[in-house]
């Protein structure tokens, strides 16, 4: 059974007619890393937003371990959000809290876990993302790359089963991209199930078990990285790949 199964998912932004996602279906197995690529506006990030319930789907289904998420039910959405975590392009750290505060707030206040254990776990996670010495720093005292790594640690502190990464490196200076990608490599080695939206094609090729290419709200091609990048089947995929490889 796939860990995450999306079937015929369609979503429309409120007040518009044209769907931003149209009949999207994909499956992610446990421990698999699937990357979403495609031009801007193709619906990659929207798909992640729909998965975590920030944009309700108009039709289709999402299942985690076979269990369907009902996005109209608070309880179902809450349990889905317990199992999924998302890291945003703009990190979205809580500006009023230190790095440690950002990582520990939800486990302590929302989950009700015990503070000593949560803090020990947070220290371990911050060390894992290379920020052992930044516990007391506020977001505005950290570089973009450091903030993004705190955001990853914060997502992991909730012990999610599936991690969604939404263009986590595209807001960063080129020299900071490497440190965040290294962090994701560590997670990949740990066997975390991940769905990644990325423009870092070299990285996508390296870590993904499968690549899903989207265009105008639909999936145009799915396959192992070698196939999608080197021998794309559809004309649209060939065009996109030739365009990105030229750079």
């Amino acid at each position: 059974m796939p860990h995450l199964a999306v079937a015929d998912l369609t979503a429309t932004y409120p007040g518009t007619d044209k769907p931003v996602l149209e009949n999207v279906s994909l499956e992610v197995a446990k421990g698999e890393i699937v990357s979403l690529i495609g031009p801007s506006g193709s619906g990659k990030s929207t798909l992640l937003r729909v998965l975590v319930g920030l944009l309700p789907p108009t039709s289709g289904s999402v299942r985690i371990d076979g269990e369907a998420i009902d996005y109209t039910s608070r309880r179902s959405l809450k349990s889905a959000r317990d199992r999924l975590a998302i890291v945003f392009q703009q990190y979205n750290l809580f500006q009023n809290m230190t790095a440690l505060g950002n990582v520990t707030i939800a486990p302590i206040r929302i989950k009700g876990w015990r503070r000593p254990e949560v803090e020990a776990d947070a220290a371990r996670l911050l060390a894992k993302v290379g920020l052992a010495d930044k516990h007391a720093s506020y977001p505005d005292q950290l570089s973009g790359g450091q903030q993004q790594r705190v955001a990853i640690a914060r997502a992991l502190a909730l012990k999610p089963e599936i991690l969604l990464l939404d263009e986590v490196t595209s807001a960063l200076d080129p020299e900071l991209v490497g440190e965040v990608l290294d962090t994701i490599r560590v997670l990949a080695a740990d066997g975390m199930t991940m769905l990644i939206v990325s423009h870092e094609m070299g990285f996508v090729r390296e870590v993904s078990s499968r690549v899903v290419m989207m265009d105008q709200g639909s999936i145009v091609e799915t396959g192992p990285p070698a196939q999608v990048f080197d021998a794309p089947v559809t004309a649209r995929a060939r065009e996109f790949v030739s365009r990105i490889l030229r750079h």
Binding site: V52, G53, L54, K78, R81, D82, L84, A85, I86, F88, Q90, N92, F94, Q95, N96, I105, A106, R109, I110, Y138, D140, Q141, L158
Partner: protein
């Protein structure tokens, strides 16, 4: 003129006159503190009403918006008279102090609603979204994430407004509320020189408003510590 003031001073700074002035000052402070504090709470409710989603809440949204946009634009003195005559019209028995207080609430709630709106607007939607996907409820997000950040934007104008309002309460003297300015007028009509009386009143206004500004600064540092890079 100075020698006249000096010769008058012992007669002016008597126990009775000082108690009279301090009581008036207390009334000024009370009107401002209670009026603006209540206004602050009402302002939160108004802002909440203006943010209700969907068509079902439209009447509430419109009413709140109309209220805020109207009462921010009417001079305090006019509100005072409207409240006074409305209360008299309905034959309620409310003291003049009460009338002034209601008028202050009306104005300060409208202004505070705007100040609070600006504070909440300064917090990006992504902070709400991020908290939501971590299973924060709306109130939990408000308490742990949004308010701590919004204070930084809300507090300075809120205290500036309160300090400004200490001065505006002088208009309540027009109704006959014995606040600081009215007390000055009374003493001045008793024959004390206006410079002496209103000079003292001036000092008392300063004594009222300066600590409030300091309190605002202290709260700001406590609730919204600024961290330069």
């Amino acid at each position: 003129m100075l020698d006249r003031i000096i010769s008058e001073a012992p007669r002016f700074f008597t126990y009775y006159n000082m108690v009279f002035l301090l009581e008036a000052m207390g009334r000024t402070l009370l009107m401002t503190l209670i009026g603006v504090s209540l206004g602050f709470v009402l302002g939160f409710m108004l802002d909440f009403a203006r943010r209700t989603p969907g068509r079902a809440w439209l009447p509430l949204r419109l009413a709140a918006t109309l209220y805020v946009e109207t009462f921010r634009r009417i001079p305090f003195l006019v509100i005072l008279f409207i409240v006074l005559f409305a209360i008299q019209g309905f034959r309620f028995s409310v003291s003049l102090f009460g009338v002034a207080m209601i008028a202050i609430c009306v104005i300060s709630s409208a202004f505070c609603a705007e100040i609070i709106r600006a504070g909440f607007d300064s917090i990006h939607q992504t902070q709400w979204d991020t908290a939501a996907v971590m299973n924060f409820g709306r109130l939990q997000t408000l308490r742990h994430v949004v308010l701590p950040q919004a204070w930084r934007v809300i507090l300075p104008p809120a205290f500036a407004f309160m300090v400004m309002f200490i001065k505006d309460t002088a208009l309540a003297s027009q109704l006959g509320v014995v606040e600081l300015t009215f007390a000055g007028k009374v003493l001045s009509t008793r024959g004390f020189s206006a410079i002496l009386v209103f000079g003292t009143v001036l000092v008392l206004y300063f004594v009222l408003s300066y600590p409030l500004s300091r309190l605002g600064g202290w709260l700001e540092r406590r609730l919204a510590p600024s961290r330069g890079r």
